[in-house]
Structures are given as structure tokens and as C-alpha cells.
């Protein structure tokens, strides 16, 4: 009887602890969002989107940083997206069973979790040293490299969801594989692939470490891709660690801006995926 009580008690304690663990996890998500909202909203104004980053003590906004982040993220996606999609296509279709694909999948998974600062060092040596100066294009390349493994992975997964029957039907009509892929498989997996690209954007738009020594930062408005360019993450980094209250306030507002955009992107991506349903390829 005593033993039974002990077992029941152990069970109760263990399950209560697991509930507590979940509560702790959710608490920190709530705490971080709450801090961001309460501190970030205080600095929300039109000036944030219309003015440049100010000198210490002056008033200003984040326009040049927002512009730089958007530009570098878009170029990064233009580099990483197509490469990732084509590589994912190879893994899912042409090389589905080849041993080389197994190696590529493995390497891709390693790259997926590799520290992003390493990519920054790589691009620094590849581009910044050769060009002789920091530049927006180097930052975009670094982001593109980070986007590749994400896109490869999601593209392969999404192409694998397309029913074999559809591929067979296309092949039976005499279509070459490229025709089947571009006219049947891609349209069928479209929303899945778009989701993968959204996730890639969510991933790279918050990256700071690889931009520190590629794009660097810029106090001023610059559209020159061959020169250092301001970007939200690095501005947040520098302003948050500065002793000036107006800079710190801008850092919080920037942090709120970037987190909200990333959360919205991730949630959108999830909604798209759940619409797909199991086994379906979308319409």
C-alpha cells in the first residue's frame, strides 16, 4: 500500500514538474515580448521610419538601417533562394537515391546549425579582404550563404510531399523530368516552397554576427552596394551598448520592429504549412 502511494506521488511530482517546465518556457517568451513591447513602443513614431540614425543626443530614426536590412535581406534571398531551390530539387528528384545526395544532405544539415559568425569570417576573407573594404554586397552574400541550407531543406521536404502519381502521370505523357519538375511539381509544391523562403527570410533578417565584419554599419543614408551599409541588427547592437539614452531607445524600437516582423513571418509560414495538410501538395 505504501509502495503504491509512493509511486502515485512520484508520478504526481514528475508530471507537476513537467507542467512547471512548460510554464517557465512560456514565461520567458512572455517576458521577452513584454520587455520589447513596453520599451519599444515608447519610441514608436513616424520619425522612426522617416529619419536617419542620429548622432548621440540628437533626434532621429532608423530609416537608413531599415532600408539597409531590407536591401541586404532581399539580395541575400536572391542569392540563397535559387541555389537552395535547385539543390533541393536535385536532392528530391534527380539524386534522390544516390549516395552523393546522402553526403550533401548531411553537410547541409551541418551547415544549417553552424555558427553564423563563422560565415561572417568566411565572407570577410573571401570578399572584404579582396575588395579592400566593408560593403553591403559582402553582407548580402553572407546572408545568402546562411539562407542556402534553410531553403535546401524545406524545398526537398516540400517536393517530397508531391504525390508520386502526379509525377508518373506527367512522365507517362512523354515529358522530360525538367518539364515535369517545372510544370507539375513546382506548381504543386508552390505554397510549401514559398513557406521555405519565408522561413529563410525570417532566419536571415535577424542575423547580426555575419554582418558585423561584412556590411559593418553606416551612420548615413547610403544606397551604394559597394560601401558599408547600415542595418537594423548591427545598429541595435551598437546603440544598445552605447551610454546615450536616445540611442538605447532607438535600439529597443529597432528590436521590437525586427522581432515583430520575424514572428509575423514565422506564423504566416506555419499557417501556410498547416493549410497544406498531410500528404497534400497545395493547389
Amino acid at each position: 500500500m505504501n509502495r503504491r502511494l509512493l509511486r502515485k506521488l512520484t508520478n504526481l511530482v514528475a508530471l507537476a514538474l513537467s507542467g512547471l517546465a512548460t510554464a517557465v518556457g512560456l514565461f520567458f517568451l512572455g517576458a521577452i515580448l513584454w520587455t520589447l513591447l513596453s520599451r519599444g513602443l515608447a519610441g514608436m513614431s513616424w520619425a522612426l521610419f522617416t529619419a536617419m540614425t542620429p548622432p548621440p543626443g540628437g533626434s532621429g530614426g532608423l530609416l537608413n538601417a531599415i532600408y539597409g536590412s531590407v536591401v541586404m535581406t532581399v539580395i541575400g534571398l536572391l542569392i540563397g533562394g535559387p541555389v537552395g531551390m535547385l539543390a533541393g530539387t536535385y536532392l528530391a528528384e534527380y539524386g534522390r537515391t544516390s549516395p552523393v545526395s546522402a553526403v550533401i544532405r548531411f553537410v547541409n544539415d551541418v551547415l544549417l546549425s553552424a555558427p553564423s559568425i563563422i560565415v561572417g569570417l568566411f565572407v570577410y576573407q573571401l570578399l572584404v579582404i579582396r575588395m579592400g573594404h566593408f560593403s553591403a554586397i559582402a553582407g548580402a552574400v553572407a546572408l545568402g550563404i546562411i539562407a542556402i541550407p534553410v531553403t535546401v531543406r524545406t524545398t526537398e521536404d516540400m517536393l517530397n510531399l508531391v504525390p508520386q502519381g502526379m509525377k508518373d502521370a506527367s512522365t507517362a505523357m512523354g515529358a522530360y523530368p525538367w518539364r515535369t519538375i517545372t510544370s507539375v511539381i513546382y506548381p504543386a509544391a508552390r505554397s510549401g516552397i514559398v513557406t521555405g523562403l519565408l522561413l529563410a527570410v525570417a532566419r536571415i533578417s535577424g542575423e547580426t554576427a555575419p554582418l558585423l565584419f561584412t556590411a559593418l554599419n553606416n551612420q548615413f543614408w547610403s544606397t551604394n552596394l559597394n560601401a558599408p551599409m547600415a542595418n537594423l541588427p548591427v545598429v541595435i547592437f551598437q546603440f544598445a551598448l552605447s551610454p546615450y539614452p536616445n540611442w538605447q531607445q532607438l535600439a529597443w524600437s529597432g528590436a521590437l520592429l525586427i522581432t515583430l516582423s520575424i514572428l509575423i513571418l514565422s506564423i504566416t509560414a506555419r499557417v501556410v504549412v498547416s493549410r497544406l495538410g498531410p500528404g497534400g501538395g497545395g493547389r
Binding site: T22, V107, A209
Partner: protein, 322 residues
């Protein structure tokens, strides 16, 4: 194919050409992934070479990091990297385990998805946000409330006491470890939840059929079945913690020294690179920082590769049992 050729040979030739081009394009892109890894490794070794040739093994065994005298040793940074990651895992493993149990065995169906998504959203928050939050919110709380208590209660103890002595800085090794723990919990719990879900219901039901409690089924049936996957998930979290840059840079204090106290400021490999790289003057300084990067790459590559290998084996087992 033959009929198409019979109808219009030029059309068929054009199709074959496009097929070849498209196929080549996908092949090149796929190989680019391999080249990328090779390129990263090669460029790191190339950049690190001057420092490694100059300091040889001393680079790994020396704690001194002095830009003024041009002496660089990686030991303090490696120590900080390893210790912060150990603290992070010590906190994150039990919490993630609890979350995975809650999500697979306890939560009512309507709660599973939203809670699961909320935990996963924690993983999507960029690391710089954790850094700024850790510096402005977590560090003051630790400095005022937690660290004085640690110093008073654990400080006088023999052996472990040394870890909790000195002034409460707020920032330091312990704070960095806690921030890292918050960051890796979503990763480990997501993987653990997924491997828990691969446990066949029949196994669990036979446990319940024998009169086992929920906890006994989890501990004696689910965990042994899911062990490899759990370790894979933990190592994935470890890889993340070892390489994390921005969150740590904010709260670690950036001091190249090995203090006996966990409350003291320290540094990690990635924090040192992030802090010093753009300001490094002199080839030896830059090269030493790249050498640190190469070291980090080697460590994380080993950990991540081992994790992926374990998860891969698990996937095969799951496929073969279907």
C-alpha cells in the same frame, strides 16, 4: 519520347538540351553546398595559419590574450565557451525534457498546438534580442536578487563555494549560461517532442496495461526508446550554445581570463571575435581571431555532425520499423 521525335525531331532535341541544362543546374547547386563547407574550412585554416605557425601549440594552452604585446592564447575563450555551454545544458536539459513530456503526454489536445508553436517561436526570436534582454532585464535582476543569495548561501561551502564567490557583477559567465539556456530550450524540446512522438502507442499501452503510472511509462518505456534521438537533440542544442554569438557578447563581460568564480566576467570564442575583429590592428591579431574561429568551427562541426549522425540513424530505424 519516340513519338515526339517522330513528330518533330528539332523539338525533341530542344527538350533534351533543356533537360541537360536543368539537370546540370540542380547538380551544380547541390555541389555548391559541399563546396561551401569545404570553402569555409579552407578559408579559416588559411586565415589562421600565421597565428598557428607563430604560436604553435601555445595558442591552445596559453591563457594570455594581450594585443599590446601581441601575445594570443585561446584557453580563456575556450574555457568560457565550454563552461557557458555546460551551464546552459544543465538548465536546458531538464526543462526541455519537462516541456516534451507535457506536450506529448499531458497537454489536452487543444493546448498542444498553441503551446508547441509558442515554444518554437522562442527559437525564431533573433539572438540579438536575447542579448539586449539579458543585459537590460535579466542581468540587473540576477545582480540584485539572485547572485547575492548565491554568494551568501553557496559561497562559504567547500569545493563548490569557489564557483560562487566575488562581487555580483550581474553580467558574467553564469548570466551568459542562463541566457544560452533560454535560447536552446526550444531546440532541444522540439527535437525531444518529435522523438517522443515516434514511440509506438502499442509500447506505451502495454506499459499502462501492466498498471504502470504515466511517469513510469515515460521513464521506463518512452525514454529508453527515444534515447538516441534525445541525445541527438541535446547535442544539436549544444552546437547552438557553443557557437552563439550575439546573446553572449552582450552579457559575458568580455574579459580574457579564467576566473574561478562563475559570477566573474569572462569571454567566449564567438564573443571575442564579435567584439574585437573590426578593431583588430596587425596581422597577428586578426589571424589569431580567425584561428579562434577555426577552433570554434572544429568544435561545433564535431558536435553537430555527431548529433546529425545520431538523428539520422534514428530516422532509418523509424523507417525500417514501419
Amino acid at each position: 519520347m519516340n513519338t515526339a521525335a517522330a513528330i518533330d525531331p528539332r523539338h525533341a532535341a530542344g527538350q533534351r538540351l533543356r533537360e541537360r541544362l536543368f539537370r546540370a543546374a540542380t547538380w551544380v547547386a547541390a555541389f555548391l553546398v559541399l563546396i561551401l563547407l569545404g570553402g569555409v574550412a579552407a578559408s579559416l585554416v588559411h586565415g589562421a595559419w600565421p597565428a598557428l605557425a607563430h604560436f604553435r601549440l601555445h595558442f591552445l594552452t596559453s591563457e594570455v590574450w594581450n594585443p599590446v604585446t601581441d601575445q594570443y592564447g585561446a584557453l580563456a575563450a575556450v574555457y568560457g565557451t565550454v563552461v557557458t555551454s555546460i551551464i546552459a545544458l544543465a538548465i536546458a536539459i531538464p526543462v526541455s525534457f519537462g516541456i516534451a513530456i507535457f506536450l506529448t503526454e499531458l497537454a489536452p489536445a487543444w493546448m498542444k498546438r498553441p503551446v508547441g508553436i509558442a515554444v518554437e517561436l522562442l527559437a525564431a526570436v533573433p539572438s540579438i534580442i536575447y542579448g539586449i534582454w539579458g543585459l537590460f532585464v535579466l542581468a540587473p535582476v540576477l545582480q540584485r536578487h539572485v547572485q547575492p543569495w548565491l554568494i551568501d548561501t553557496l559561497g562559504p561551502l567547500p569545493l563548490v563555494g569557489k564557483l560562487f564567490q566575488g562581487p555580483p557583477f550581474g553580467i558574467g559567465i553564469l548570466t551568459a549560461g542562463i541566457v544560452l539556456a533560454i535560447m536552446v530550450v526550444p531546440f532541444i524540446s522540439a527535437v525531444t517532442r518529435d522523438v517522443f512522438e515516434t514511440v509506438p502507442d502499442v509500447l506505451k499501452e502495454s506499459g499502462y496495461g501492466l498498471g504502470a503510472t504515466t511517469w513510469e511509462v515515460i521513464w521506463q518505456v518512452v525514454v529508453p526508446y527515444a534515447r538516441t534521438g534525445m541525445i541527438g537533440g541535446i547535442m544539436l542544442g549544444l552546437g547552438r550554445a557553443l557557437g552563439e554569438t550575439m546573446a553572449v557578447t552582450f552579457v559575458i563581460g568580455n574579459a580574457h581570463r579564467i576566473g574561478s568564480s562563475l559570477l566573474a566576467p569572462g569571454t567566449t570564442i564567438s564573443a571575442a571575435i564579435a567584439n574585437e575583429f573590426t578593431e583588430a590592428v596587425g596581422d597577428l591579431y586578426t589571424s589569431s581571431l580567425i584561428a579562434l574561429g577555426a577552433l570554434l568551427f572544429l568544435i561545433t562541426f564535431t558536435v553537430i555532425a555527431a548529433a546529425r549522425f545520431m538523428l539520422l540513424r534514428l530516422e532509418r530505424r523509424a523507417l525500417s520499423s514501419v
